[in-house]
């Protein structure tokens, strides 16, 4: 008969990883993996969160197709995604500007990085204040050069762009720090060789530097896309989705449907979340595919 200790000794390397993984997998399954499937299932029901669940198949998704608010949110998500990507070139240029060794430059770098450390709630409050039509800095400046006042956050035409600008502030800082780290590791021999070949400025940047910054650019794209699709905090703090729902995005509209005074439509909310998840899944798959190739390449 095999004693327990003998079984352990012979299979130690096969059992040990599962013991190390157990607590992490348990928490992660309970709070992350399982809820994804639960939400997909809830999206097939009509449910107010308390009473009886009623199975309605794909009716929630069918309703989305006739919901103007859903399409406004989707359109705003696209605007977020496209404009947020501007943080990448902007961050690169700030990084190039700061990649020097003059005195005190380290403090400058930290101060430029500052907005990323602050909570988005505080960023939202700061920018609501910046845009205020009566005393905000923006309108003080516009008034100073003789232009009319713009109530950015109360105007359907501008509101989404106003919120995106607030979001770009910390996002540019994030991309900047990625590129500063990347620039630090650029091969100096290649630069010297290229200089001897008379490469300068833009040509140098495009042909010699940018290819070496590829890993930084990749991470910058990943965090920026995810950040754009996750946008919720700023909208909640600055506009509450308004005016008249003009600044909603999917993440915010879902919350409104499921949890706010607009009613507790859990099933419909879950359907919106599933759509958002499906969009993100494209990026998640691309990221995992790249990681998979790298892992296999080792």
């Amino acid at each position: 008969m095999l004693s327990a200790s003998r079984v352990w000794k012979e299979n130690k390397l096969r059992i040990a990883p599962w013991l190390f993984l157990a607590p992490g997998i348990a928490m992660f399954s309970l709070y992350i993996l399982l809820p994804v499937f639960q939400s997909i299932s809830i999206s097939l029901f009509d449910w107010d969160g308390l009473g009886e669940k009623k199975f309605i198949g794909l009716a929630n998704y069918a309703e989305l197709l006739h919901d103007d608010a859903f399409f406004t949110s989707l359109k705003n998500n696209v605007a977020w995604l496209v404009l947020y990507l501007l943080a990448i070139p902007a961050g690169l240029f700030v990084a190039l500007f700061l990649n020097q060794t003059t005195r005190g430059i380290r403090i400058y770098k930290s101060m430029f990085f500052f907005p990323l450390v602050i909570s988005q709630v505080v960023v939202g409050l700061i920018f609501s204040w910046f845009y205020d039509p009566h005393f905000g800095l923006l309108n003080t400046i516009l008034g100073g050069v003789g232009l009319p006042t713009i109530a950015v956050l109360a105007d359907e035409r501008f509101v989404t762009y106003g919120v995106i600008v607030a979001g770009l502030w910390p996002q540019i800082a994030y991309c900047m720090i990625l590129y500063l780290t990347g620039l630090n590791a650029v091969n100096s021999e290649q630069i010297e060789a290229a200089r001897l070949d008379n490469a300068h400025g833009w040509r140098m940047l495009w042909f010699i530097i940018l290819p070496q910054l590829k890993p930084a650019t990749f991470i910058a794209i990943v965090v920026t896309v995810i950040g754009a699709l996750r946008s919720f905090d700023l909208i909640s703090v600055m506009t509450g989705g308004g005016p008249w729902g003009a600044s909603r995005v999917l993440a915010y509209y879902m919350y409104e449907q499921a949890f706010s005074e607009y009613g507790f439509r859990m099933g419909y909310g879950a359907a919106i979340a599933v759509v958002l998840f499906a969009i993100m899944l494209v990026y998640i798959s691309a990221f995992l595919f790249k990681m998979y190739r790298e892992e296999k390449g080792r």
Partner: protein
Amino acid sequence: MFPTPIQNTSRRTYIAYQVLLPVTLILWLLPLLGVALTSIRPASDITAGNYWGWPSSFSLIENYRAVFTNSPLAAYILNSFKVTIPTVIGAIALSSLTGFALAIYKFRANLLIFFLFVAGNFIPFQILMVPVRDLSIQMGVYNSVWGLILFHIAFQTGFCTLFMRNFIRGLPFELIEAARIEDVSEFRIFWFIVLPLMRPALAALAVLVFTFVWNDYFWATVLTQGAHAQPVTAGLHALNGEWIAAWHLVSAGSIVAALPPVLMFFLMQKHFIAGLTLGAVKS
């Protein structure tokens, strides 16, 4: 180095750069400077419309004291610490175990489990919202700091596992093989050999998780209500609704709420950046 070091350029460019540097910094931080200035203005300046001129007097102490005595801000801040500190400990404990398992052992499901942790990181919060809220209610932790702690530990474990696993992979594997030949138990290898070498990774994750969780707003609004459990991000939003037109108080409150992660950043800058730029350079 690229761009060309400014010291090697003409004297005129050098001076222009030295002037441009502080000017761009002030422009970059202008919204923040405005808030800082407002937080030390007297209330009379706000009613008189003096938002951008020199403060008529300095009310630094009055404003900050008012924020703490006339509002539950102190309770919100305390809640934030109660949520953040256990989360940092929990997420780092779980992920050093999972990271170790995924970095050291070869088994079939290894890459699949690793990818699940990585993917979990990128998931939109909204797809978790309804089930996680129900789960918290069922477990009796809804509307308490524990509801937030448990969720944050689970979520942060995804990112931390990615970080830990890649860090441990960079350690020399011979150390572990040598210990196995000496018949050291697997747990002792983890505890006495690998863990001491992980200090830089632990420090980087501690600052990052602290900042992420401190700044969380979404889960704070979904899982808590009221000053007894709400952290400062949600609390500040609530106070903003009460302090209409009291911009000197809103500003002071914002600055207080932003302070802990800012201090953390300045004290542990190297670790913070090492964590955020993970993967930005090919090793």
